[in-house]
Symmetry: C2
Subunit: 235 residues, 2 copies
């Protein structure tokens, strides 16, 4: 018997209009959908495409505790992979709804790692938060021969400093509770003036703030800081 | 009188299904379209969305000589900006069709630099070649706290070596005629085994090759090499 295919489907950064035709086709036709969600409450990823779903598909929620004891929350992904794997075994395609792009720092990676060896996998790329933030800020991300570096907020202060010092352009992702440290690094490098902050890009509650306006503890997980040292590059 | 708005519209990496709903809405409704093309022949960017266009819009081709005497070809963009600016002045919106994402190493930057001060600009992010290549290769781009570095192929050998040595994951873009140099750098760093090559990702003539299979002179401009040193990160 032929097994099903696992689809990792990128649905973009939040604006329901930033979904691709290919994502919609696969999400509408797969017999089984899976999607990440908090322990309680709705799934942001599913809400992006909810208006397009027929409402007749089997659905597998992947609910993540707010404060996982370990990272990544292995048991949650183990259980989800088991449930998804059973559908694939039985011949049903399963489409996992992924915010942004599945392979750009996405949690789809944890299902991919568990299932890719056993089942066919197809990934549908989506608009990533990286370029969505640049568009929303009206700030080109990189041009010509710029080296662009994507720096996760959890990095240690000294490593972040070295990475930012070497970059022509940088995107600091997963800012969240690391904002105060990042601010210190930007100030020390004299880059605060080149930095632009945005949260929940393309969503209804998107906010663009100066670094001064961001409270040290208030940055959400879905926030990003773009830094560009060569503003003359695109003129 | 109100001026028109300049739209930079990302249409994704080549597969016509990887266009977003928002890109289609704007490209169908703008009275004027502009698009990049070679000196002779069709525009790849326009072809991606051609099936969706009503055929009644004014169109401004931006034709680039194959071997521009200078980079960027200032006169071509000066002339295009003048023509587009006249439409905006007259109150017409102009949508520029951009392969991939307008702010990710896109030539839209050169129009943006010339027109953004004078007219309202809105950028519609698209699926970038970066995540499209990762999806086509079936290779996660970055996970967890990976530092991801985007390295343009034209960089000098010593700078490229330093950037690659420092990266957890890297995407070398604009490979083209720089392939032999890049191969030398990867070999010297012992990274050839971690590197994956792809050209024309998501297009009908997409090819995935080993480094050995790529002829030293044969890599097209639309080619990319992904390098990931931490394959255990997503398992």
């Amino acid at each position: 018997m032929t097994t099903g295919t696992l689809y990792g489907v990128g649905v973009g950064p939040g604006d329901p209009e930033l979904v691709t035709l290919k994502a919609l086709r696969i999400l509408r036709s797969a017999p089984v959908l899976a999607w990440p969600a908090p322990e309680d409450g709705p799934s942001l990823a599913r809400e992006i495409v909810a208006a397009h779903l027929p409402g007749t598909q089997r659905e597998i929620p992947i609910r993540m505790p707010l404060v996982p004891a370990r990272f990544p929350a292995q048991e949650v992904y183990d259980r989800a992979a088991e449930e998804i794997g059973a559908e694939l075994e039985a011949g049903a395609d399963v489409a996992v709804i992924c915010e942004g792009d599945p392979f750009f720092y996405g949690s789809f990676m944890y299902l991919y790692g568990r299932l890719a060896g056993r089942f066919p996998v197809e990934v549908i790329p989506g608009v990533s938060s990286l370029t969505a933030c640049a568009a929303a800020l009206g700030a080109p991300l990189a041009a010509r021969n710029d080296v662009l570096t994507v720096i996760p907020g959890p990095l240690a202060e000294d490593e972040m400093t070295a990475r930012l010092a070497a970059a022509d352009a940088a995107a600091i992702i997963k800012v969240g509770r690391h904002f105060a440290k990042i601010r210190t690094v930007l100030d020390a490098l004299g880059l605060a003036g080149d930095a632009r902050y945005i949260e929940r890009a393309t969503m209804a509650d998107q906010r663009i703030l100066t670094l001064e306006e961001v409270g040290a503890d208030s940055a959400p997980y879905f926030s990003m800081i773009l830094v560009h040292k060569r503003t003359e590059a695109w003129t």
